[in-house]
Each structure stands twice: as structure tokens, then as C-alpha cells.
């Protein structure tokens, strides 16, 4: 499965590149990631979020790194869901913004893991990636993922339709939300 998405961020390419190059930042906006830990100059350990398939983790390596322009990576070893990604940063015509173009390729296996991943992406798999890039834009332009009462947990917004009502959260909901 190949997914593509693009967005424009009102920040210079060097800044957008630097944020992405620190792969530990990816889970702040990518819904399917729980954690990414840097293990070496070009190597990292990725942990998927539960709905993507419980306890899936894999190693990844950066195979192409052009500062300010492009990063390519791929899963290493025997990942349960072999995958690879490319992100390119190009200056937008306005002279201040950066276009971010991303391509992700997943080699979806059979069995329960394959089913969980397919279910996670749903019928319009590119939407997840569109939402991921919207959150990347929010983080870089405003500092955080934006929360509303109806969609208080940022990364989960789309999955939660119909949402909780647009009214303030109770103490119990706030406490529960914090340890998800």
C-alpha cells in the first residue's frame, strides 16, 4: 500500500526538516505511532499505537538524508509490517512557506497483524496521513496539536466520530485522557 500526502507550512524548510529529522518528534503528530526512540546516528526504534496492532515495534534506518530537502527511511530487519517513507521539503512560491510531500509504503502481511493494520487505515487510508500532516502543521505553526471539547485527544479525532458532545470535559474524562 502506498500513501501520499502534502501540506504547506509557513516556516522555512530548514526548520521543518530539522523537526522531522529528530524522528522522536513523529509521534506528536502521526496517529499510528506511540513512540520513536533514536538508537544511533541513522537508526531508530519505532513503536506503534495500540489500534495499529498491539505491541508492534520495529527498527528503522535513514537511507538518504539531504539537510533541508529530503529524508528517506525504511524498516530494518524482520519488521512485522515492512515499511518505508520519503519526505521532501520544497520552498513554496510565497517565499516564506515550505511544501511537505510525503510518501509512505507499507507491505501489509496476512494474519491478524495485517488485519489490524488494514482496519486501522480503513476505507480511505490516505485520510490518516492527511490528518497527520495537518497536525504537523499545527505543531510547527502554533506549537501544539489543537484540542476541542468534541475532539480533545488530538490524534484520535477522526476515529471518534460521532464525538463526545462539544461541552467541557469532566474530571474523570480528563484523568482518563491523560494516561492514554
Amino acid at each position: 500500500m502506498e500513501l501520499t500526502a502534502t501540506t504547506t507550512i509557513r516556516k522555512p524548510a530548514s526548520e521543518v526538516y530539522a523537526f522531522w529529522r529528530d524522528l522522536e518528534n513523529l509521534p506528536t503528530f502521526m496517529a499510528h505511532l506511540e513512540e520513536v526512540r533514536t538508537t544511533g546516528d541513522r537508526t531508530s526504534r519505532w513503536v506503534a499505537d495500540a489500534p495499529f496492532g498491539k505491541d508492534i515495534a520495529w527498527d528503522a534506518e535513514i537511507v538518504d538524508d539531504t539537510p533541508g530537502e529530503k529524508i528517506r527511511w525504511r524498516s530494518a530487519g524482520d519488521a512485522d509490517v515492512p515499511n518505508a517513507g520519503t519526505v521532501r521539503f520544497t520552498p513554496a512560491p510565497d517565499g516564506v512557506s515550505t511544501e511537505v510531500h510525503i510518501v509512505l509504503v507499507y507491505d501489509i502481511p496476512g494474519g491478524t497483524i495485517g488485519k489490524a493494520v488494514a482496519k486501522y487505515f480503513g476505507e480511505e487510508p490516505h485520510q490518516q496521513l492527511d490528518d497527520d500532516l495537518r497536525r504537523l502543521k499545527q505543531v510547527l505553526e502554533t506549537g501544539e496539536v489543537v484540542r476541542s471539547d468534541g475532539a480533545p485527544w488530538g490524534k484520535r479525532a477522526r476515529k471518534e466520530f460521532p464525538q463526545r458532545p462539544a461541552q467541557p470535559l469532566s474530571d474523570a474524562e480528563l484523568a482518563k485522557g491523560a494516561d492514554r
Partner: protein
């Protein structure tokens, strides 16, 4: 706290809900001193805006006192104790749309942008109390509200103007003003405004302030037309006369130079068979909006004129007069109001006495009576023009 909530089609209910908390670093919590009911709220209650949910706190016109600020709000921008009017579109101040002052199209404030994109082609900003399509933000018909990007939107009121004088800077005064501004008014212009509701009244006053030679008010409610007339505008009752003929009469056959639609998707029509056509189509969802005013404005406007649309449309319309629009060189302009753009200049016009927003307030009720407020505003009872609620 107490809050007015959506409880299904044609039903609002004041209920107990939790107090709001800071969720993002740039939030503030505002204790609301005055809030209002808007024509846009009627579209929600009447069921024309999808993605409303039982329990959604309503209201997008509110002001009050800051009682808490998030760690990301710089004190020179906003502090506890500040008195603020809150604009209805939530805007980040940092994206491409905000940089172009298109605040109601902010690219960052709608957590449900993906859903809005499906309906509208591109997403729109978050809006307080205005469905999950615009983010699922709790609204301001309540004792307190959480205000995201509190360092961007809220306007501080540092003078001793009463709430009633500045409350409408949150929406309808800027909206009416933007409707007139989009008309690019010239001193010789006759401007016709469809709808003598609160938004229409402010569009008329703004057209006058921007220098129009004559302003015409079109509605069917005699008391609303009288209110417009008292403010110096020329009334036309669409139930009593044929609007297009009357407009030609009033303009020596030219047609109004500029036309403002301040009615939107729930327009009614003086001619029963045309009204029935759109009502049936809307009921069976072949058409989501009833575009009587849009059609009439396009057909009436003089060649080369501007049709400025501030009445809200939500989806699809039928029988759009594309031929008239195209062949007669009309310009169509529109938008949810970019309120943040207009708050300061309009505050100055209020202070100087050029605009008097209080003239439309007919009812002031406690928040607990929100349900009654909706009823009289919707059904045009008791000469209701605008309801202000006090939490």
C-alpha cells in the same frame, strides 16, 4: 456550570455541564458576562447544519472577564482580570490564511478539518458552539468558556463602554460591516439589503457609514422594517410587493448597484409555489439550502454590480441563475466573517458614536431562559430582534 445546549432538532436545554479547563497552552477561560442568540444558531436548531450532537454547548457571541490563562499566553497580550470580547471564528494567527487576514478560514484551528474538507473542498476554521464540522468547540451561551488562541482573537475593552455596546463586535457588527465592505461602495450607490434581522440591520448601518447614497431594507416582518426605517433606511416588504419591481421603481429602472444577502439558507419566499418547490427539495435533501434571496439578489442587481453574501449557506442550492450572473458581469463575494480583521476599527466607530450597536437589542434575559429566547427570536414574537442573555 450552567450552559445552553443543543438537545435535538428544535430543542435547546439549559443544563449542568462541567466547568471548562485549559486544554492547550494558549487557552484562556472567560467568565461570561453577556452572550447572544444569533440567526446562525437558528440554522443549528432547525437542523440545517450537520454534525450537531445532543449536549453541544451553543453560542458564539460572547464577552466577559478572563479568569485563567494558559502558560503559553504572554502577559502583555492577556491577563487574568482583562475584559474581552471574543470573536466567533477561532484563528491561530500564524497560518497562511491568518497571514492574509482570512481568519474564518484559519488552517489550524479545526480538529475535524478532514470532515469539513469533505463537505467544502477545503477545511474551515474552528467556530465556538457551531457543530462538530467546525471543530466541536463548546460555545458561549454558558457561564464560562474556554477560548483557544486567547493571545490572538479576544479584543480587550479598556474603556467603560457597557457590554451592550461592544458585545456584537464578536460577530454580527463585523459581519454586517464586511457585507457592506465587500460591496466596494461608491457615493452614488444604492445598496439593497435582504433581511432586516440583526445582521441585515448592521449591514445597512455599515453601508451608510461607508457612504452609500441610499440603503434599502427588504424583509416581511413589519416591526423589523420599521426598525430599519427608524435608522434611516428605505423599507420594502416582500410579502406586500414584488421585490424586483419595487427595486426598479426605487432606482429609476437601474436596479440596486450593490446587493447584500443577509438571510441565507432558510429564506422564505413571497410566492407560494416557488417557496414550495425549494421546501420540498430541502425536506427530501435534494437541495440543502433555500436560495430565494441569492437568486433574487442576482436577478435584481444592476449589470456590473456586486452581490455580497453574508447569510449562511451550508450545502447545495438548486437553480442558481448562472446566466444572469455571468452575462451581466456581476461580482459575487462572500465569507464567514473574518471578525478579527474588523474588531478594532469598529470599536473606534462605536466610541466615536458613528455606529450604535445597542439599537437592535429588544430582549435581555437570564441564561436560564435561553429556551424562551430562542422561541421568541425564531418565531418573531414580541417584536423580537436580538436577544442578549445574562449568565
Amino acid at each position: 456550570m450552567r450552559a445552553n445546549t443543543w438537545a435535538g432538532r428544535n430543542k435547546v436545554e439549559v443544563r449542568d455541564v462541567p466547568d471548562p479547563r485549559i486544554l492547550n497552552r494558549r487557552d484562556a477561560i472567560v467568565r461570561i458576562t453577556s452572550t447572544a442568540i444569533c440567526g446562525s444558531d437558528l440554522h443549528l436548531v432547525d437542523g440545517y447544519v450537520p454534525t450537531m450532537q445532543d449536549g453541544d454547548v451553543m453560542g458564539h457571541e460572547f464577552m466577559g472577564e478572563v479568569v485563567e490563562v494558559g502558560a503559553g499566553v504572554a502577559p502583555e497580550r492577556l491577563r487574568v482580570g482583562d475584559r474581552v470580547v471574543v470573536p466567533f471564528p477561532i484563528a491561530c494567527g500564524a497560518c497562511g490564511a491568518c497571514a492574509s487576514e482570512l481568519y474564518s478560514c484559519c488552517e489550524n484551528t479545526n480538529p475535524n478539518a478532514g470532515i469539513a474538507e469533505k463537505m467544502f473542498g477545503h477545511p474551515v476554521a474552528g467556530i465556538f458552539g457551531y457543530s462538530h464540522l467546525t471543530g466541536g468547540f463548546a460555545g458561549g451561551q454558558a457561564q464560562y468558556a474556554r477560548v483557544p488562541f486567547a493571545d490572538v482573537g479576544p479584543l480587550k475593552i479598556e474603556s467603560d463602554l457597557a457590554d451592550e455596546q461592544v458585545l456584537f463586535l464578536s460577530d454580527i457588527l463585523p459581519t454586517g460591516y464586511m457585507g457592506a465592505e465587500m460591496c466596494d461602495i461608491q457615493p452614488s450607490d444604492v445598496v439593497a439589503v435582504w433581511g432586516a434581522g440583526p445582521v441585515g440591520q448592521f449591514a445597512m448601518d455599515s453601508a451608510r457609514v461607508l457612504g452609500a447614497a441610499k440603503v434599502i431594507a427588504i424583509d416581511k416582518e413589519p416591526y423589523r422594517l420599521e426598525m430599519a426605517e427608524r435608522a434611516g433606511h428605505t423599507p420594502v416588504n416582500f410579502e406586500e410587493v414584488d421585490v424586483r419591481s419595487q427595486l426598479l421603481e426605487l432606482t429609476g429602472g437601474r436596479g440596486p448597484d450593490k446587493c447584500i444577502d443577509a438571510v441565507g439558507l432558510e429564506a422564505t419566499h413571497g410566492s407560494a409555489h416557488i417557496a414550495a418547490y425549494d421546501q420540498v427539495k430541502q425536506a427530501v435533501r435534494l437541495e440543502t439550502d433555500r436560495p430565494h434571496v441569492l437568486r433574487q439578489a442576482i436577478m435584481s442587481c444592476r449589470s456590473g454590480g456586486v452581490v455580497s453574501v453574508i447569510g449562511v449557506y451550508g450545502g447545495l442550492v438548486d437553480k442558481f441563475p448562472a446566466g444572469a450572473w455571468m452575462n451581466r458581469s456581476l461580482t459575487l463575494r462572500t465569507g464567514q466573517c473574518h471578525v478579527q480583521r474588523y474588531m478594532k476599527p469598529l470599536l473606534r466607530r462605536i466610541e466615536s458614536g458613528e455606529l450604535d450597536p445597542t439599537r437592535i437589542i429588544t430582549h435581555t434575559l437570564p441564561l436560564e431562559e435561553a429556551e424562551r429566547g430562542f422561541e421568541i427570536f425564531k418565531n418573531k414574537q414580541d417584536n423580537c430582534e436580538k436577544v442578549v442573555l445574562k449568565p
